[in-house]
Symmetry: C2
Subunit: 353 residues, 2 copies
DNA sequence: TCGGGTTTCTGAAAGGTTTCAAGTGGATTG
DNA sequence: CAATCCACTTGAAACCTTTCAGAAACCCGA
């Protein structure tokens, strides 16, 4: 991995031509150039051709700042993701882009990386940029900054989190239900000592999924406290490995026989570490993940996981944002999808019954 | 996955206050407000406090469009990725963000999704936005659009592709060498029928890696044509599965005993499909991937792969862009890193020697 | 009290685009 | 031939901020 370099002379940069230069070159007025740009049907074919030729030869590039300043609107959505390294969110982003594209808008992606400070910084930036709207999977859904935006004119749709403060639309998947389904599955398989792996606890997805899991425990007639809590510092593969280390280190008699992970990244890390430390999956440890990302099925032991409609989530969210930013009598919506369990080898075949 | 909805009344939006209102509210001139914003040290503490209070109470949000229009510069980098769903590129993006952050800049991520048309659209958009610089892993590195940008004042650094047209810096990893190393490894293990899985062929990474593989064949005294070409439509898990289908369908006598995939996504899909069709890895089919993404080690059979310094790649690229966009006597650089082979179960233990 | 040097503040210009009311000129009509 | 229309064009104002030359206020020692 040693870098090797080659130097090269830099090219001088040339300032871009503006409408004014184009107008002069084409021998028309400034307003006409603008018309060619924005209402070509109002310009005669001959003039339009002249202007377009001038634009081409001068290398005209419209200055969006100026356009935006004058026109007020910006034709850009931003999706502020919780973790760009998590394929779940990139699939959501794909859905967002798809919907935006259908409406002729572009999407900028931003990555808060589970860091509230970065999230806040990006929100400031996006507001200053006057983007047409913001989609966000928040680290901190209660941040005052988040509710300020809509009040000041930047519509916000919350993705993958249900919010009902009346400030924004939200599109979510029922995480409590998902957690319940996952844990019920493990209980049905006869597992007694079950761990919930996830964290940090300020992330709503984690607490909801845990809450669902605890509810399943109680429904099965067991105290919620019996669910062993393995708190992680983030929802990443590396943290999953760390959890695996901790878990595998327990004496067999106290070690859980099943683990429900707050997402697939954790589950994959846990799986990898446990296997490499000699535990058999699912015989010694059954594992359930969450999200059903594409890699879950390709894992060392194909992963049982809770599937969410990732792309649809993003698509729906973008459509809501579109409505909010263009329809004057928009009403805030709270859309909730229901996840479903996908059973694979990491739990199946372990049934002690 | 059935959605359920709840409606809610929309809130009226209020226009944001500008410097003018702030100035009036604070009883100072417009220029002073601007000074508070841009050169706070030139304003007396008392005045500054007054202005800041006014900003707060009015909910002032600086209008970046206007700022940019007047000031000319934009404090934003964009990274136009080849595939946001590929963890390799999100790791590169992480490096970019890190370097940008150190310099006080923000990064917008864009996803061309291996689509030349979307790439071109995004380039237009970014140029119009007058971003401070563009980092790009191009679908089409020879696109005229790409060389236009620097000439018109938007610096561009090409990431993960070596370019020496004298128009931009580039930061790359030696893909030919990587391909050669991967294939040499398979040859050393004694494999006779080896497939190269990858495509489409307009993607430079694919052709370089294939070229390296063919070179390794020739170095081993075998005609390059002996390398069986399995062309895919994209570098995705799904395409990898498709390749697996095709490959597993061949009669055992003609089926390759080893496959070198142009990236890990393909390799993971191939692996998954082959295993599910009853082939043993590595006994029936050895697999080498490329990129060594985090999921490679967690795969069904831990994947031998060619590791690239992902984050460093992004970090270095952003630093070059920074230099180009701020240092008047910047010289274009071409930095090349060398990849390394990471051997895991998907090839090891198959040694027929 | 007065020059002279600092520090702080002001006001107007500038930046590139869009918008829109008003203007132009040619074709059509009476 | 004049009046009317129509299809296009024009030019100036507006969007919000930053910049910068110069004005104002202040402080110091003489």
């Amino acid at each position: 991995m040693t870098p090797s370099g080659t130097a090269d002379r830099a090219r001088p940069t040339r300032a871009a031509a503006g409408v004014k230069e184009v107008a002069a070159a084409a021998g028309v007025s400034l307003g006409t150039v603008s018309n060619v740009l924005n209402r070509p049907e109002m310009v005669s074919a001959a003039t339009r051709a002249k202007v377009e030729a001038a634009m081409l030869s001068l290398g005209f590039v419209r200055n969006e700042s100026a356009r935006q300043l004058r026109a007020g609107s910006s034709r850009i959505f931003a999706y502020l993701m919780l973790d760009a390294g998590n394929p779940f969110f990139t699939d959501v982003a794909r859905g967002v882009e798809e919907a935006a594209r259908e409406a002729g808008l572009s999407v900028f992606l931003c990555n808060s990386n589970e860091d509230a400070r970065r999230e806040a910084d990006y929100l400031d930036l996006l507001e200053q940029q006057r983007v047409q709207g913001v989609l966000i999977t928040p680290v901190d859904p209660d941040s005052p900054r988040l509710s300020q935006l809509p009040a000041r004119g930047t519509p916000v749709v919350v993705v993958d989190r249900a919010i009902d403060d009346g400030e924004h639309c939200s599109v979510a998947v029922d995480d409590v239900f998902g957690g319940e389904v996952a844990l019920s599955h493990l209980l049905e398989l006869g597992h007694e000592r079950i761990a919930f792996v996830g964290g940090p606890n300020n992330i709503g997805q984690v607490t909801d999924r845990r809450a669902g899991a605890r509810r399943a425990m109680e429904r099965a007639g067991r105290p919620a406290e019996d669910l062993i809590d393995l708190v992680t510092g983030a929802l990443t593969v590396a943290e999953g490995r760390g959890a695996g280390q901790r878990l595998a280190g327990l004496p067999a008699a106290r070690r859980p026989t099943a683990a429900f992970c707050a997402n697939d990244l954790l589950a994959l890390g846990l799986l990898q570490q446990c296997v490499s430390l000699g535990l058999r999956v699912p015989e010694d440890l059954a594992i359930v993940g969450y999200d059903d990302i594409e890699f879950a099925a390709a894992a060392a032991v194909p992963l049982t996981s809770v599937r969410q409609p990732r792309q649809l989530l993003g698509h729906t969210a973008a459509e809501l944002l579109l409505d909010e930013s263009s329809n004057p009598d928009h009403e805030h919506q709270r859309v909730t999808f229901t996840p479903e369990l996908v059973v694979r080898t990491s739990t199946r075949g372990n049934s002690p019954s």
